[in-house]
Symmetry: C2
Subunit: 490 residues, 2 copies
């Protein structure tokens, strides 16, 4: 893709300057239109060392309204980033609706600096990149990717100029000169990566930048064009997914779950004590091995989620876990991809995040209440499976619990809550309304369990009519999953 | 303080257990009361290695509502934190109103691990700690600090137990054993630090924790007591400040500023080009030297802030600066100390944050519009000076510009904006209303300039009737401040 690239002619300097000026102003106008249209825009500026990425970003931003954009440089990942999945920092930094985020190199940097060129690893990276960009586009983001291209000789000359001036010498590093030495090999490799990620929803634009004015002019033209297109025709429609989805586990229907399982007090106390001790010990080992754990809890209202979560946390070091309670999204969250807020709270390696309700809200409450349109909810199944697959690829233990009770038990607990002053705040009119929709929710839950339970991120249905039984089952399941992982690690 | 500490008697085990249970439940009730009362609570758990900090935090959290608290472990600072002022991460993590944040060791860790025991450096650290805690208390935060105290022998035995068990051996580090070897010296040193920071608004509570149940019981009792006191009597009233405030620069009254200063087109173009080139070069050097810059812009509506900021950013690498536009606070911001949002956006070392309006809102618009009560606004002068002094201590260049125009010029510009379709969105009814309050604002600005201009964080009044003159003056001032700093650095 890069090697065969045909360079356009150098433009007349004066003519280019005046066009650049016009395009900068047009970009500012388009920014305002994007703001009104609530279009979120992601611009990626990749390119060779010394290809002029910094100056190009300056040109893009020159006339933009300052509170409407952010620039993220390509500094190496810091500790909090290194300890999280590869895409964590990019998810964290995606723009809100109507805003523009400019990433310098961004998520292509690790793929290119990656020395381990084994085909399998590379293919996984490429899949992850394509998934990330497609998920953004599915959600209405415009993704515009530029590669600033200069030839070997131009690069060599520019690096030389930088290193000859004492005040800029530090900017031309050994790695940059090495890049120049290996120019042809890297050119093929980058070209290959770009071909593999040149999707309809996130096409590459190669910008020859030997002549800066010509390059700037071409880039701004393209960027304006892409923005105009997105504003007029909407973001490009994603191609139908052809990748095979992961194998799914066969799950029971809720109606078939045996809710009579129970534990007596003595067995419970004994098991609770034993499991807590084991878990406490294992949590320390996981921390050492830097294995992250992501656990979701979903279930009927009053199924006992808080009680289970509390027992789980009693067994863990409080400095090593976070309970993320998912309530109605904040304005910041509503303005971004719906997975954004879950990405943000992912644990560091070795730590645990427990989601009290989770991303499954989209295929349950959001769908049942019509908060999100059907097509978007349908799409969410793929997104969720992809999200969890990415967590697994990162190395996380992923577990999802559905706490199941029957309608009679729920009624009993609702009534008890209403009669107990200090528990009354836990029950609302909405809980009673949801109860009326039980059959509808049951169908949705059955569908969710059937479509999102994978070997590496399984659903576990917990019989929760008896709270004691439920708590022990959860503790045991978590404990066994950790033991299994430690065994695999050897 | 520590060396003379008298240990209370060991409690009866059974009695302690039942009291702990009661106290945990009481704490949960107090948490709900704090939520209703919107009381933000900061709990610090410091203590010797192996004194049981983790378990103690577990006990505190055991019955708390999970979405109402957060625990922050004492991991070493990561890159993003290292590149920012010492207190940045703690400011970032302060609780919202009604919430509880538990810090393990927190801001006492660096002070104690600090090898450089020179008196001057230590005194600066102590001042910074006291200021941080006092600022929180001034804003209604409850700050509760515990030190878990165990004697030398208990520590030695516990470390030995940890290191004898292969699954916990990694938790007893060389540094921990070293601490035990130097126990007496450290005991004196810690005691001294605690005495120096044992303020009325943030007193230390020493909890003997040789006997865990006794320790837990004592700590929970104290914590409940402090919460009850705060809920009943309000947070402790800060003692009057006795520290001398920094020397202030003498500033002109706005009425005396000569607004006739102007530049012609030719002089402007020439100066703009020259200053931009110099600044660009200097920005690179600052990045290398890791000097951060914090610049505030305040001024009358239509004084030309955006135009000035744009010229300034044109001279900088877009990957190295952030323009933080300060608008009405979000709910998250309103729920915390008003300096929180400004702390969050501070640059990393070597980078620049430009605040388009700033923390001075409190002593201007918030005061003029009665958004904040007078006593709180009055307090803000000290807080602002302390905040900026902390930035200076960190090593930042701090500059504050007041863009000054007269009423006629403002009227002209307002009228022009209203007549220009693409500028009309920049003028609102509020701008016209503010105009009526000109004399009131002028008094407030004069007071602000007089009370917050210090040698290391000076105000610069910019004569801005002529936009060209104003832009060049700002660019020159920034450039000279950088040159001055680089000269000092040698």
């Amino acid at each position: 893709m890069l090697a065969q690239f045909k360079r356009p002619e150098k433009m007349d300097k004066k003519q280019a300057s005046s066009e650049i000026k016009r395009l900068k102003n047009e970009l500012a106008v388009l920014q305002q239109r994007a703001k009104v249209a609530k279009l979120p825009v992601v611009v990626l500026i990749d390119g060779w060392s010394a290809s002029g990425k910094g100056r190009m970003i300056s040109s893009i931003c020159s006339e933009l309204e300052m509170r409407g954009y952010r620039v993220h440089g390509s500094s190496a990942a810091d500790m909090g980033e290194t300890l999280r999945p590869q895409f964590w920092r990019y998810w964290r930094d995606i723009p809100a609706m109507g805003e523009i985020t400019i990433f310098e190199r961004g998520w292509y940097r690790p793929a290119l600096e990656q020395q381990d060129e084994t085909t399998q690893r590379e293919q996984l990276d490429i899949n992850a990149i394509r998934t990330f960009e497609r998920q953004l586009c599915d959600d209405g983001y415009l993704v515009v990717k530029f590669f600033l291209h200069i030839d070997e000789q131009t690069q060599r000359e520019r690096l030389q100029v930088l290193s000859d001036d004492p005040s800029t010498a530090w900017r031309a590093t050994y790695a940059d000169f090495l890049q120049n030495k290996q120019y042809n090999r890297l050119c093929r490799r980058r070209g290959k990566l770009m071909e593999a990620t040149d999707d309809a929803w996130g096409p590459w634009h190669i910008i020859p930048n030997e002549y800066r004015k010509t390059g700037t002019c071409l880039l701004l033209r393209t960027l304006c064009q892409r923005l105009r297109d997105a504003l007029e025709k909407g973001a490009p429609v994603p191609a139908p997914r052809t990748e095979s989805t992961e194998a799914l586990l066969s799950m029971p229907k809720l109606a078939d779950v045996d809710l009579d399982k129970a534990l007596d007090d003595e067995a419970y106390d004994e098991a609770l004590d034993r499991e807590r001790k084991k878990l406490k010990h294992l949590h320390g080992l996981l921390y050492r091995e830097r294995v992250p754990i992501v656990i979701c809890f979903e279930g009927w209202d009053a199924a006992g989620k808080s009680g289970v979560i509390r027992r789980l946390t009693w067994a863990m070091d409080p400095r090593g876990f976070l309970v993320s309670s998912v309530a109605a999204p904040s304005p910041d969250e509503l303005a971004r991809h719906y997975l954004w807020r879950f990405w943000r709270n992912l644990p560091e390696e070795g730590n645990v995040t427990i989601y009290d309700r989770s991303w499954y809200g989209r295929v349950m409450v959001e769908r049942a209440e019509g908060l999100t349109d059907l097509a978007r909810c349908e799409m969410a199944y793929d997104e969720i499976n992809e999200f969890e697959a990415e967590l697994v690829r990162w190395g996380a233990i992923v577990l999802k619990f559905w706490l199941h009770i029957d309608q009679d038990t729920q009624l009993e607990r609702f009534t008890l809550r209403q009669q107990t002053p200090e528990k009354r705040h836990k029950i609302t009119a909405e809980d009673w309304r949801n109860r009326d929709k039980w059959p509808q929710y049951e169908r949705l839950v059955d569908e969710m369990l059937a479509r999102t339970s994978t070997p590496k991120a399984p659903w576990v249905v917990v019989e929760a009519n008896d709270k004691k039984y439920a708590r022990i089952k959860v503790l045991k399941t978590v404990r066994k999953a950790i033991e299994q992982r430690l065994k695999e690690k050897g």
